[in-house]
Symmetry: C2
Subunit: 320 residues, 2 copies
């Protein structure tokens, strides 16, 4: 089976948004973007042995390769619309591709995202998705506009994905019921698209949590020319992480575990009152975990009035 047949069979027949004039099948996709909107573009690669193990369920890989990109769009407050998929495969196994597509398209369809282009090549397993969203002019959430005094929030819960990864790496044994819950967090992260919509006009900055709260909030602080402090007792640690890990270890997972794909955002004091309403229709909890402070140093950790020391402080950097 040649490249063209593969593409035809698996990727060309997905649903098409009405703004997609030409999808897969020409030299390039042709799209009519909405007026008075800006375009938001992001790309992420998942490589076997670096971002996932060879035995990842193909549906999970399909889901996750799209989800991590939609998460970046969510962090900008954007509405996801069009994606391209470059997939490199050691061989063209039909069953594998079917399951990959099932995971990919289930998420795409949920958010009305159309696959508009792709490339299928032979080689070591690797997936690159480029995702495109739109946002009304001047409404995008960025990293560089947090102000000293703004409150720091996160959506959902932290540390669950990292604990599942520990199990997969053989570092901590979990029972099958607990693993099932946590693998959902690791394999099927839910991009906080609706939370991102709600934060337009409310948050002063936003980032998605791929490297861990400590490192990612550090990116926001650095880009905004200030620092931040986190109250570790306020962290929304995943309930199973609390149960399965010692307290300091649970905090370390929540701060540095990575791959939570929640949103971390800052809200000025004056907008705090609007936040509950703004996020009410997203269906996702949010929780204040700290505050932006003056300074240039790394993000500070506090436990009440006491500085808190965490021995695992590092970002999740696949390339170091």
């Amino acid at each position: 089976m040649g490249e063209f047949d593969l593409i035809e069979r698996f990727f060309a027949n997905s649903a098409k948004r009405p703004d997609v004039v030409l999808g897969i099948g020409d030299d390039a996709a042709l799209i009519t973007p909405p007026e008075n909107h800006q375009l938001v573009i992001t790309t992420d690669t998942l490589v076997e042995g670096v971002h996932f193990f060879a035995d990842i369920p193909p549906a999970a890989l399909g889901h996750k390769s799209l989800a991590v990109n939609l998460s970046d769009l969510a962090a900008m407050g954007a509405e996801p619309r069009w994606v391209t998929l470059a997939i490199t495969l050691p061989s063209a196994r039909m069953e594998w591709l079917e399951q990959f597509c099932q995971g990919f398209f289930e998420l795409a369809e949920y958010y009305n995202v159309t696959l508009v282009g792709g490339d299928t090549t032979r080689g070591p397993l690797s997936i690159t998705v480029t995702a495109h969203g739109v946002i009304p002019m001047e409404q995008a959430l960025t990293r560089h506009q947090a102000q000293v005094g703004d409150w720091v929030y996160v959506t959902g819960s932290l540390g669950g994905s990292a604990l599942a990864l520990r199990h997969l790496q053989g570092q901590q044994r979990l029972s099958s019921e607990i693993l099932e819950v946590l693998l959902q967090r690791h394999y099927y992260p839910q991009p906080r698209v609706l939370s991102g919509y709600g934060l337009r006009g409310v948050a002063s900055s936003c980032i998605d949590l791929s490297d861990g709260l400590w490192a990612d909030l550090g990116h926001v602080a650095k880009a905004s020319g200030c620092s931040a402090k986190i109250q570790v007792n306020q962290l929304p640690i995943h309930p199973q992480v609390k149960l399965q890990c010692q307290n300091d270890d649970a905090i370390a997972l929540a701060l540095c575990g990575g791959e939570d794909y929640e949103l971390c955002f800052t809200v000025p004091e004056a907008m705090k009152g609007s936040l509950d309403v703004a996020l009410s229709y997203s269906g996702i909890e949010h929780c204040c975990v700290g505050q932006m402070i003056a300074g240039q140093g790394p993000v500070e950790l506090w436990q009440g009035e006491q500085p808190y020391t965490c021995c695992h402080l590092q970002g999740w950097d696949h390339f170091s």
Copy 2:
């Protein structure tokens, strides 16, 4: 050196178009697209051992990974504007990256294209570029609107890249002077962006030649619901291919060699007179090589009034 430092050092400091509100450094790029234009998106992956050999000069790889994508935009008549680059590297070798970037950005700057996002990961060498262009509403060139009777043209010359590849594969020995000329074709294909502009409103269809004229014109014919015939004596075979190969072999390289990255386009009889003027400012030759005909079969080959038989008929399919 970590992923973030790498990205910072090599990719973040490139020139930014004024329509790029946020480039590399946030969760996603933010762009203000022009009004009354459509968006054109394409993506292509180059994998070591499949699309290039391990010893490819890094500058050539940088150039080519962008060029093959700009070529797709050119085939739509689009103006290239923004690209993302996902690069997977076995190790972070500074000299290699510098040369890769030199090849990539020299081409990007020539066409005023801004790198707006990227992902750098560790793994087997692979490059995925997603390129974005714009085109005034309703002016895009497509594959499916060729009509029976339209004339078939190609830009530039054919077969040069494929002959260089033969040398690299050890199948045909070329002298160093000749190789130098042909490796330019193979390593540094020039996307026919200006030709694409010129063809707006003149060509009825267009495709870029990555798989070879015979296969690519076949895609146009199939998409347009007709067939085509090529006059093999009219093919603009690269002069060095004519000199180094027997006549039938030269024709086979021009028809099936692949990776010429010229444009193949169709022009209605009524527009033939406009063509020379339309393409005059591109600086690239064009040449009529055949005509669209009724039928559903594969593209026919003719030598004057006689059917021509080529024993090498196949497209360049990396995945078969």
